[in-house]
């Protein structure tokens, strides 16, 4: 089992995602127990990235359902292509054709618009299903999803029941903007991602930004880490740290100091108030740790 987890880690690393032990364990368990993973955590810590890397590692298609306010079955499961149906009816309207035949025609596969959930279930290959920002949907939709995730089949009244040939790997991500129902949470394994530790972020930077020196990676990670501890409207995400490192490299700079930070801060922080706050801190010689110092980030 140890080597399986190590394999997972290595595979994910090759797919461009660095797993810590916890993430790898949860991935391993979800595979072994055939359970969906519910990924929570602040914006920009790589919740979606886990699923993407996992599908890349397994070399399976990633089917993504982006949830939003007011999403319904017709956008998530399937929908009849109403426009084409209407046109078809018009076209045959003047000819003498058996109405039953028309009916069969317009409710056949070719008028069916497959939305992500149906795609994931009906595909002949196993797939990775990513349901993004599940906390945005309303309760009715969640209940429908719940049924789907336990049965992996759905019925289309006009066509019959579609049952999954392979159970897809399911990832649900949430920003915890509302409580999900107990029933849904119970079905899933829970993975809480937080901002990475200093060492991990350094590693991520080195993986993602070619040409970055170890020294610079360390400094960038330290400053990003420190900035996240300031009370900001939005803490810089990992993606933004990577962008920042890229920007610094593009500018041909090889060290990080106050001046460079001031010049490039807008890559890292996007709100005007946040920018002003940080600039103020830099001018005031407030410690943003341009000197590395140890930060303990363990759970307990």
């Amino acid at each position: 089992m140890q080597d399986k987890i190590d394999n997972l880690k290595e595979g994910m690393f090759k797919a461009g995602y660095i797993c810590d032990d916890r993430t790898a364990t949860v991935l391993y368990l979800s595979e072994a127990l055939h359970k969906p993973i519910l990924v929570e955590g602040p914006a920009g810590v790589g919740k979606t990235g886990v699923a993407q890397a996992f599908s890349a590692m397994k070399n399976l298609p990633l089917v993504r359902l982006q949830c939003y306010e007011g999403i319904d079955e017709s956008k998530a499961l399937y929908e009849w292509n109403y426009k084409r149906q209407l046109l078809h009816i018009q076209a045959v309207g003047n000819q003498n054709i058996d109405p039953r035949e028309v009916e069969q025609d317009i409710f056949s596969e070719q008028y069916l618009l497959r939305r992500p959930l149906l795609q994931a279930i009906s595909s002949s290959l196993p797939s990775v299903l990513l349901i993004d920002e599940i906390d945005k949907v309303d309760f009715e939709f969640e209940a429908m999803l719940l049924e789907l995730l336990s049965e992996f089949q759905m019925s289309i009244p006009e066509l019959g029941t579609v049952k999954a040939a392979h159970i897809p790997y399911v990832f649900l991500t949430s920003n915890a903007t509302r409580e999900l129902s107990e029933a849904l949470k119970r079905r899933c394994l829970y993975l809480h991602l937080n901002f990475p530790t200093l060492a991990l972020e350094e590693q991520i930077l080195r993986l993602k930004v070619p040409g970055l020196t170890d020294h610079l990676a360390g400094k960038i990670a330290t400053v990003a880490h420190r900035i996240r501890q300031v009370d900001l409207k939005k803490a810089p995400s990992i993606a933004e740290t990577i962008d920042w490192a890229m920007a610094i490299i593009q500018l041909g700079l090889d060290d990080l100091n106050e001046a460079v930070t001031l010049q490039t801060l807008n890559v890292l922080v996007k709100h005007r108030e946040d920018l002003e706050k940080l600039e103020g801190m830099i001018y005031a010689r407030n410690d943003l740790s341009f000197q590395p110092r140890p930060v303990d980030n363990r759970a307990w």
């Binding site: 089992m1 140890q2 987890i5 032990d21 916890r22 364990t25 949860v26 391993y28 368990l29 072994a32 127990l33 359970k35 519910l38 929570e40 955590g41 306010e69 007011g70 109403y82 426009k83 209407l86 046109l87 018009q90 906390d135 945005k136 920003n175 915890a176 903007t177 509302r178 409580e179 999900l180 107990e182 949470k185 119970r186 899933c188 394994l189 829970y190 993975l191 809480h192 009370d231 409207k233 108030e273 759970a299 307990w300």
Partner: protein, 363 residues
């Protein structure tokens, strides 16, 4: 004691801390444990964590129980020794099937014994009784709450804008497809944006409550343009500009330092607050404004000045009152809540952070 019993004790202790651990979760946990190497503490911890808790806010409680049970390392060694006897010797599938039945679930019984005070979900902690440590826990969870609140408000603003068909524009659109209504156009109803005036008691008697109420207002201010906040003890003053950080513990001190909320005596005076609010800020009220009042309505036997509240009610659209005291205490002693409540659209009792969040979300 074999390991299963030990594990069962662990589950029950989790339940005692208020973490909802269901039977199916314990079953998943046992199944998962069969799959991993117990000697690696990271794997072991993650397995228990990911199968047993499904909400980040329970992590603190979970960690403390976990630490009690497993972090010593001794326990795990003991578990390893007992494992062959209990279920590792069985074929995998069978063991997995047996495991749940082997666990007598008595969580409900132990729940009835009462939750241990210090480790309940911090969001359900009574604000007025909370210790500093509990307040800090709440503070840690506060961003979660404000995010939920924000989501709820945004959702409210977006709801019911589908429904009605706009026949005129549907017809017009259908011209291009030879009279076939391919695109159905709907009417978008425009919703009026709420204008909120919040009046918050910042006196010492409701300290914790007002800390969090202010923080809640500060976070609401971030996504609502039209929100003005006022603080009072015996005098009322606008505090909108000071509510710029989301840190519950510093906001109140900032407000006390910057705003003029005390005139001569320093006792909470609701009557005077309402009168001077009408005198100085009645311009902030119009038929669109909703007034939110945060406070315990304990007036220190000063004059109620009902007519001032009545005037506010007449000028504004609605008044909502959020009171940190349980409803049974309303009207007791110098609490004038029952009198004031008559002029409010609704008055909510919010002794805990969860209830405060829920009440605000209901608006």
């Amino acid at each position: 004691m074999n390991f299963l019993q030990y594990l069962q004790g662990f589950f029950e202790d989790l339940r005692r801390e208020g973490i909802p651990v269901t039977t199916s979760q314990t079953r998943d946990c046992c199944q998962a444990l069969l799959l991993i190497d117990w000697l690696n503490p990271d794997y072991f911890y993650t397995t228990l964590y990911s199968t047993l808790i499904k909400d980040y806010s329970y992590e603190t409680a979970f960690n403390s129980v976990y630490y009690r049970y497993f972090a010593s390392g001794l326990a795990m060694a003991a578990g390893k020794r007992d494992l062959p006897a209990s279920f590792a010797a069985m074929p995998r599938g069978e063991a997995a099937a047996m495991a749940p039945d082997a666990l007598p679930i008595q969580g409900m019984a132990s729940l009835r014994g009462g939750l241990s005070q210090s480790l309940r979900n911090p969001l359900d902690e009574t604000l007025s009784l909370a210790s500093l440590e509990q307040v800090q826990k709440m503070e840690a969870l506060f961003p979660l709450i404000s995010r939920r609140l924000a989501a709820k408000m945004i959702k409210k603003n977006r709801r019911d804008d589908n429904s009605m068909i706009n026949y005129r524009s549907t017809m017009r659109k259908s011209m291009s497809s030879g009279g076939l209504p391919l695109n159905i156009m709907t009417v978008r109803r425009r919703r009026e944006k709420p204008v909120i005036v919040a009046i918050c008691d910042v006196s010492g008697s409701v300290m914790t409550f007002s800390c969090f109420a202010l923080a809640m207002l500060a976070s609401m201010q971030r996504f609502m343009r039209q929100l003005r906040s006022f603080g009072f003890i015996e005098e009322v003053d606008e505090i909108t500009p000071w509510l710029n950080s989301g840190d519950p513990l510093t906001l109140r001190t900032t407000v006390l330092r910057k705003a003029r909320v005390i005139s001569s005596r320093g006792y909470t005076n609701y009557g005077n607050t309402f009168t001077s609010f009408i005198k100085r800020y009645s311009g902030a009220l119009n038929h669109k404004t909703t007034v939110l009042i945060f406070g315990d309505a304990r007036n220190n036997w000063f004059n109620d000045e009902i007519q001032a509240l009545q005037q506010i009610k007449a000028l504004a659209r609605k008044i909502y009152w959020f009171n940190p005291e349980p409803e049974s205490n309303w009207g007791q002693g110098d609490s004038r809540m029952l009198v004031y409540a008559r002029y409010c659209q609704a008055a909510f009792s919010c002794p805990t952070l969860n209830s405060l969040q829920e009440a605000i979300g209901k608006l």
